[in-house]
């Protein structure tokens, strides 16, 4: 019997593969998401352009905040979509097949990677349209990773909650946004420091550590609490 039970990791991997497979099957969803972030960037670009703001000298903090807002809205859509597209009978099936820990771990990994890709894509579009100088590439990469993890973990948990509430994306946003504010403060602070805002340079390490701590707490909470959401 023991041998027939696949290990925790291989179960996680199987679920992860399943999500990728679904993503590959309907590519228009993926394309739609990237189009969503591109159009948001263009909206910001045009609003800045025709309001007399110099695109070259956009303050680092403004750049960072606008960028994370774009990522915020795309990731809410992306993450909640990964839950809401599951058919109800599929969910029942997963209930019998997997333990809740396997399911949430797979979802978290999938959503973190997906949000990370989204934010990298959004940052490339953003850089091209609204040029900015990256002062410290290392810090920028770190904050991209940690920020994406914050977004993905929070919205994964909130999507699970909203799914059980038989509600929609709106509830994910309503539940998630207020809790995101603490993380967002650290994320935008570090981002503007990475873009060369001298005044914040000394706070970078402190803020990054706090962000890591908050991310770890979030992941622990998500995994520990998920069985209670999952139970029918």
């Amino acid at each position: 019997m023991q041998n027939n039970n696949p290990s925790f990791l291989s179960q996680v991997f199987a679920l992860f593969q399943k999500d990728i497979l679904i993503e590959r099957r309907n590519k228009y969803v993926l394309g739609g998401l990237f189009l969503f972030s591109s159009s948001t960037v263009m909206m910001i670009y045009f609003s800045l352009l025709y309001n007399g703001d110099s695109l070259q000298n956009l303050p680092a903090s403004t750049w960072g905040i606008l960028f994370w807002m774009v990522v915020l809205f795309s990731s809410v859509n992306a993450v909640s979509n990964s839950f809401f597209r599951e058919k109800e009978e599929n969910m029942m099936y997963f209930h019998f097949l997997f333990s809740p820990y396997v399911y949430i771990t797979a979802k978290l990994i999938y959503n973190v990677i997906f949000t990370l890709l989204l934010s990298v894509a959004a940052s490339i579009i953003f850089m091209v349209v609204i040029p900015t100088h990256i002062h410290s590439f290392v810090v920028f990469t770190e904050v991209m990773a940690l920020g994406s993890i914050s977004y993905a973990v929070l919205f994964t948990t909130m999507s699970a909650i909203a799914l059980k509430a038989k509600s929609n994306n709106t509830l994910v946003a309503v539940l998630g946004f207020p809790i995101l504010i603490p993380m967002l403060i650290f994320i935008t602070k570090v981002t503007s420091a990475a873009l060369g805002d001298i005044t914040m340079q000394e706070l970078v390490t402190k803020n990054l550590l706090l962000l890591i701590a908050l991310d770890i707490v979030q992941i622990i909470l998500a995994i520990v609490l998920f069985p209670y959401i999952w139970r029918e």
Binding site: I161, I181, V217, L221, Y228, R231
Partner: protein
């Protein structure tokens, strides 16, 4: 079965007694002596300068040994002809002789008055010296023996900017204490619910959140009034105030979530999960944020520590009872709401 504390009476009476004590005492104890203004606010060295000082709650005429001196960069300047014109006003003169040979002194002076009844009271950075700093201003050791530097009466400290509004300490600050404490009660009962599936615990958690939202709203209202009066804006960019606003947003979302789920058992479980998740992040947030950013609140950033005034024993005599009284009063509200809900549940079950 309802937890025992909801039906006990002694702590409810205690909250009434404490709050009546805080209301009467906190509103009637007078403010201590303090300096209000000095006129003129600037002087030119090398000329004879006459000043008048206005103060409140002082005893310049009845208190003995009235002394006035100016202080800058650790050095004292003597004045002449210090004379009380009433209990709350003083006149003095700054002779030019002393200023003619001046040492290096800052451009601003603290005005300090001392008498036996009021102790030492100061108006910081009240006087500005015009023009160049004279080369050698002789710092005169005119304050050698100050007989008494403590106010003797029973009074709250007179603080610039705060003035009489210092009494709001007994209403505004305990609101935050209550909000956090009631939230922690709801956290405890959410965890209890998840481990026992007892419907009653869900009711307690939900009603605690309702009451903590009330505390948050009251805290924001009292804070806005106070801020408008002291800092000149009802919503100053202050991390603690913003932290409270975030808390209110989170728990409004909690109420929305409860409204969105029809099934009772599911509603209880899902909202308990959200509650635990939110509280942990929120508590981390409000304890971290004020420590990494400047706050207008005392004890943060560039502001003087609140403990300095909080330590004032007269303020403490009312502050601690106020905190306990308000916390108990809000817990009382929780217990009433819980018992009403519980009775409603029993009635529904019977039908």
């Amino acid at each position: 079965m309802l937890p025992g504390w909801t039906k006990q009476m002694w702590w409810k009476y205690l909250s009434i007694v404490l709050l009546v004590y805080v209301l009467i005492g906190g509103l009637t104890v007078p403010l201590g002596p303090g300096l209000v203004s000095i006129n003129p606010i600037a002087f030119t060295p090398g000329a004879e300068n006459n000043f008048t000082i206005e103060a409140v709650n002082t005893h310049f005429q009845t208190g003995k040994n009235v002394q006035v001196f100016l202080k800058s960069a650790g050095k004292y300047l003597c004045v002449e002809n210090a004379k009380a014109t009433s209990e709350t006003s003083l006149r003095f003169m700054l002779p030019m002789a002393q200023l003619a040979n001046a040492d290096k002194v800052d451009n601003t002076f603290d005005v300090i008055v001392n008498d036996d009844a009021d102790g030492t009271i100061a108006l910081r950075d009240a006087l500005v010296m015009n023009g160049l700093v004279p080369d050698s201003l002789q710092a005169n050791e005119c304050v050698v023996a100050v007989a008494n530097n403590l106010h003797t009466g029973f009074a709250f400290p007179y603080r610039e900017i705060l003035y009489e509004s210092i009494r709001n300490t007994f209403y505004h600050v305990p609101m935050w204490f209550s909000m956090l404490l009631v939230l922690i009660v709801s956290l405890v009962y959410s965890i209890k619910y998840l481990s026992s599936n007892n419907k009653l615990y869900d009711i307690i958690a939900a009603e605690s959140v309702n009451v903590s939202l009330l505390c948050g709203a009251l805290g924001i209202v009292t804070g806005m009034m106070w801020a408008n009066y002291t800092w000149g804006s009802p919503w100053p960019n202050d991390p603690k105030l913003n932290g409270a606003a975030v808390g209110v947003l989170i728990y409004l979302a909690y109420i929305i979530l409860r409204g969105a789920i029809q099934d009772e058992v599911k509603r209880a479980r899902i909202s308990a999960v959200y509650n635990i998740f939110a509280i942990v992040i929120y508590v981390l947030f409000i304890f971290i944020i004020p420590r990494i950013t400047d706050s207008l609140h005392p004890g943060n950033g560039g502001n003087p520590a609140f403990s300095k005034y909080d330590l004032d024993s007269h303020l403490r005599l009312f502050f601690y009872p106020a905190v306990i009284g308000w916390v108990l009063l809000f817990m009382w509200l929780v217990s009433i709401r819980v018992r009403i809900r519980f009775l409603e549940e029993i009635k529904l079950d019977n039908e």
